[in-house]
Subunit: 360 residues, 2 copies
């Protein structure tokens, strides 16, 4: 055990879930004292930023697959700076920038979320990241870019000029899919929800800038636009990435080539994944689900994970991938941030900043 160098006890503001329900009715901001002793393998982090992801909201609502014991601190990923290390810690040093995510912790610590100013974590539960990447990039690295990366790597072998198709293409994951594919030479067909003409134009422009090859709306798809697009391709998509479900997923499946694969990582329509029976049998389509939390648990501290994080940090540093537009909120304004994140057509990711001076 070692003593924190700062003898005065630190006070940490954190957002806790008191009960499952409507976020702004059940969340509460409170001050707690940070324990002033670290055990030998613990690390004290000054948390810098933590995003509001859809799964955070589901967890607060009690609709997520995993329910923490209450009260629990909200938030599931973030970036921090090491303030103190326990006596036996060898692989980390004070001043390092690290990312951490709740999937790294055991089930009983699920409540130990990231929407807080200071956090004591086990040394094996953090990953060092270079300090040249943006704080927003680091804070949002563990979930969305990793989800995009793994879905493109783990289910089919993609090579240059292969085609993938996705729906919900404007989601944070969708935008990383576009950028990774662009860099890897893979063509993307991107379906987005319909919206007002000027807004649509802006979004299409944004996705094209990221590297999207083909963009169409769900409405275009329903009118048969996808068929014409597929006819124009030398080969049909090998992989479909689905975060919508329902009819939209059935159309993704129908657009796949023989022995194609659909991977589901979300269900925005609240409808099940639908696989037309003929496609399942005669086209030999396989459907998988991808859950980042599970992958991180299975591959904790694995070479695969370190390789991915290193590669993604490099891409962020070189501007090969850009983080989706983000809007920063001081942690004490979490209610406004959460309300904004609940709006149907969001144009930016909401990120909590733990130190008001970092906000700009």
């Amino acid at each position: 055990m070692c003593q924190l160098s700062n003898v005065c006890k630190r006070s940490s503001y954190q957002v806790i879930i008191n009960d499952f329900g409507k976020p702004n009715e059940v969340l509460e901001g409170v001050y707690v004292e940070v324990p002033n002793k670290l055990s030998s393998n613990q690390i004290l982090l000054k948390v810098l930023m933590s995003p509001i992801n859809p799964s955070d909201i589901n967890m607060i609502e009690g609709t997520y697959h995993i329910k923490p014991s209450l009260p629990a601190v909200a938030g599931n990923e973030g970036v921090g700076e090491i303030l103190e290390v326990g006596g036996a810690v060898q692989d980390h040093q004070v001043g390092e920038r690290v990312i951490y995510s709740v999937a790294d912790r055991s089930q009983c610590q699920l409540g130990a979320g990231t929407w807080r100013q200071f956090s004591i974590v086990n040394e094996t539960n953090i990953i060092k990241v270079p300090s040249n990447i943006s704080l927003i990039g680091a804070a949002t690295l563990a979930v969305n870019p990793c989800t995009a990366y793994r879905m493109l790597k783990d289910f089919v072998k993609l090579k240059t000029d292969d085609v993938i198709i996705q729906n919900g293409s404007n989601s944070a994951v969708g935008q990383y899919i576009i950028q990774l594919c662009k860099y890897w030479g893979i063509k993307t067909i991107n379906i987005i929800r319909g919206r007002q003409e000027d807004e649509k134009e802006q979004l299409v422009g944004h996705l094209q800038n990221l590297g999207a090859d083909i963009i169409l709306t769900e409405e275009d798809r329903k009118k048969g636009a996808l068929k014409d697009i597929l006819k124009s391709l030398p080969e049909k998509p090998k992989l479909a990435l689905n975060c919508v479900g329902g009819d939209s997923s059935a159309h993704l499946v129908n657009s796949l080539r023989q022995k194609g694969v659909i991977v589901t990582y979300g269900g925005m329509s609240k409808r099940p994944v639908m696989i037309p029976t003929g496609a399942a049998i005669f086209k030999q389509i396989t459907a998988h689900g991808y859950w980042n939390t599970e992958w991180m648990k299975d591959y904790k501290n694995s070479p695969e994970r370190m390789e991915m994080i290193t590669e993604l940090c490099d891409y962020l540093d070189k501007g090969i991938i850009k983080t989706p537009k983000a809007e920063l909120f001081y942690i004490k304004d979490f209610k406004t941030a959460v309300s904004e994140s609940l709006k149907e057509f969001k144009t930016s990711k909401k990120v909590l900043v733990m130190d008001e001076t970092l906000k700009c």
Copy 2:
């Protein structure tokens, strides 16, 4: 080239598809002359029996994934006896009993169906079967028992006391699934369509005799009976086999354990396979389709296929698996046979017999 020993030309009655549509409007029975010359690798078969499978009907209706060039002979599997062999044939002899199925032939020969009295086939397209197994067993071996066998072998590793769940359990494939599982020590949960009480009782008795562990109707399932059944099991099913689709498939998926697998081989409800999004993502369920025709093409003349056929013939011989109840029709009565096969609640498989003397 070699001359057929019987110089008189043979006449063969066969059922041809003239057009795609309602079976008894588009099927026609005709006599054709059997060519009296075999090329060096050809074999002349006296066809003995050929079943009417649902996929035969779909092919006639034009709704099947594969459409033969018309006119085409109907039927896709059967058993025959070798009458003559070409000059270069070494692995087969006159008098042998063999099974053959259309999946063994190239796309352009799809029309060369099995509802006929004589057939000239390539030597690589037939498989010898022992003459001690029943003709009905041999005639129906290539599709349904193989489908059941492969679905139980190829998608998850099942061990003694594992549980599988299936719907449409009274289908021919479903009955083989029950029997193979019984013999291999695997427990089965079997969902059947609801029907009148006396008929249901009879069917339940029949499936229990085959070795079914748990039987419930789709109506019981909708009322929540499946939940109670699952609670009573030490472990949830590892594998679900689906020939219904729609809600029924969603319930199969929900009954699976973590990382369970659903395999679809039919879609009697005409609804797509439905995979609840939460199950796809958080339970990491994988969905596959199984198409026997494709498997047979991929594994033509493979050791895996020979091993399976040998094993299934042995099971048939020893009574470990029984063929579903069959009703025999002389080929010239094909219209009656087809009409009977189209009835909604069938209690037996309809099988065409090519030689009237074999009918009893």
